[in-house]
């Protein structure tokens, strides 16, 4: 079971997790990663732009890769697009597996690749106005972990 979605409005991570868990009764372990807009460094808003013909297929391909590489009962990727406020959820990734190592690895892998290879463009608004977020060297290092 692979469930990949873009959401242009706020989603409720707890409800998504509960829904996901209910669909993987045979899984012994469920690992989730929730990313949210940080409230700690003067960011007033975050905007994520996407390109429909590429962004969702890109996430779907990443999910397919994870499902092929690890023994998973299920995988969930939900990503916000549009404008968000501090504390808003940005991304929820969940992996369910019989043995917990698969769920940990798949979720970690998806996060490492989501950040650097997704077709998403982000800008932040601070007191000084909007500022585009540049690529980071760390993203390459994160992906290199997976050989």
């Amino acid at each position: 079971m692979l469930d990949v979605r873009l959401s242009d409005r706020a989603f409720d991570p707890a409800r998504e997790i509960a829904g996901f868990v209910s669909r993987v009764p045979d899984a012994g372990g469920v690992v989730t990663f929730l990313g949210q807009v940080r409230a700690d460094h003067g960011v007033l808003a975050l905007e994520i732009r996407h390109y429909a013909p590429m962004t969702l297929p890109g996430f779907q391909a990443l999910g397919d890769t994870a499902v092929a590489r690890w023994q998973l009962d299920g995988m969930l990727i939900v990503h916000r697009v549009g404008e968000m406020a501090p504390g808003d959820p940005i991304v929820l990734v969940a992996g369910a597996s019989r043995h917990r190592r698969d769920a940990f690895a798949a979720t970690d892998f998806v996060m490492d690749h989501l950040k650097g290879e997704s077709w998403l463009w982000k800008r932040e608004r601070t007191a000084e106005g909007w500022r585009w977020i540049e690529p980071r060297g760390q993203d390459h290092a994160d992906r290199a972990r997976w050989g």
Binding site: R49, Y51, M54, G116, W119, W121, K122, W132, P135, Q138
Partner: protein, 81 residues
Amino acid sequence: MSGFARLVFLGRLEDLAGTAGLAVAPGPLDQVLAGLDRELAVALLDDRIRLALNGDLLTESGGITLVDGDELAFLPPVSGG
């Protein structure tokens, strides 16, 4: 003949273009770009900008000719973080 092709500007290119997309006359890409604002055209030709034609990433940007109904997207490097 004629009709329209569409250029799509992602990320900061949207701000630079002042619009998310632009309908243009079909034809060779060089010719299409020559009809745009010069600063925008230079930004679109930057090495780090990747191109996608009708949703498929292009490996080469040379020799593209847009036909009626084509959508050509200009994709700057994606954001980190």
